[in-house]
Assembly symmetry: C2
Homo-oligomer: 242 residues x 2
Amino acid sequence: MSAGTVYGVGLGPGDPELLSVKADRLVRNARHIAFFRKAGRPGQARTLADPLMPEDAIELAMEYPVTTEIPLTDPRYNEILSAFYTDCTARIRALTDAGEDVIVLCEGDPFFYGSFMHLYERLRADVPVEVVPAITGMSGAWTATGAPITWGDDILTVLMGTLDETTLTSQMAATDALVVMKIGRNIDKVKRALHAAGKYDKAWLVEFATMPKQTVQRLSEAEGKVTPYFSIIVVHGQGRRP
Amino acid sequence: MSAGTVYGVGLGPGDPELLSVKADRLVRNARHIAFFRKAGRPGQARTLADPLMPEDAIELAMEYPVTTEIPLTDPRYNEILSAFYTDCTARIRALTDAGEDVIVLCEGDPFFYGSFMHLYERLRADVPVEVVPAITGMSGAWTATGAPITWGDDILTVLMGTLDETTLTSQMAATDALVVMKIGRNIDKVKRALHAAGKYDKAWLVEFATMPKQTVQRLSEAEGKVTPYFSIIVVHGQGRRP
């Protein structure tokens, strides 16, 4: 086992005050801070953590070799990403072998559709890893709508916009409360599925939840708008309430 | 509108370090602190917040008139609970009308199957209410299992153990990743549904997630154990991973 520990630190939905006390403490006291980002961008996680990071922290930027340039279905996608995560793991491992702790900044909750999981699976046999859960982006989104997401026995289903239209439609039809993430270029397909499932008129679109540029609107009133990849669609449950 | 504000403050899954920085600050500076609890018990939320609460904070305990003594299907259940929430609302409203802010402590995330929502709906027209999202109990539970809950395009479904067995089974069969909450006396029904959906052997039982008495075990190895109402069953998704 490495002498150093890796901390997968969830940063939550975007508001720096919504970091956990533990995440806040770990980032403020960090020596080595790693984070994913798209090449050439400052990076969402890095930007969020900026006000907390010690001036002398050593940064380890892990820049995705591809994001949406190659379709997920292309076999090269997995190959390229796998090599990337293996390389990131080696860079982190070099630090922990030297006895250094490494904080890995994670948007949202690390174990909920996060990139950190790919490092975690590669590190866990050889390096002590501690995961700090966080407020999910979807909690930020439903709170922003000003209405509870689930009541009583409501069923909540979380879907990725990258799923095929048939699956989206049947899942949407079979649930009470709904969250759709990874929307971006899938928005038209997601809208068709919502229509087919009878939930389009009840859907809300939340962009940049809990951040200064947050927007909340009915999806039906957002026609024609470009939606960023990290926007979230929310349909509220209407279950039992005394 | 009342002059005072109500803050519905999510406390997260149980570890005091997993409160958000904002929740921590609000509780530490509170003058009036309200919380739900079962009569005669200290109350989970109150206990969690105890180390943070100012010595001179004024407490407003809201004690459920019933919890599991009357079945949910009994019409009296809704009547009694409705009267209770109306009474709680009046007590809080008396404070905010006098210009006082009131912190309402909420286990988990306030808008995710929480009791606070019943106050929120009754207060929001007349009192400024701010909701502070939090780490959900389920995030605490899946983090405790040491394995990510969702990968790639995995579908996540959240079910209450109080649902009927047919619904539980069909929903469990149609999802990749699964969370079941409100288990308690529903445990045998939930287990039958997991068996029927082919997910029993992959299910984990987490009790008291993130708390000192946390336990994590395969559900199949927890036979015969009494499970507290706030235990959570987790089945991990196995989706795309480079």
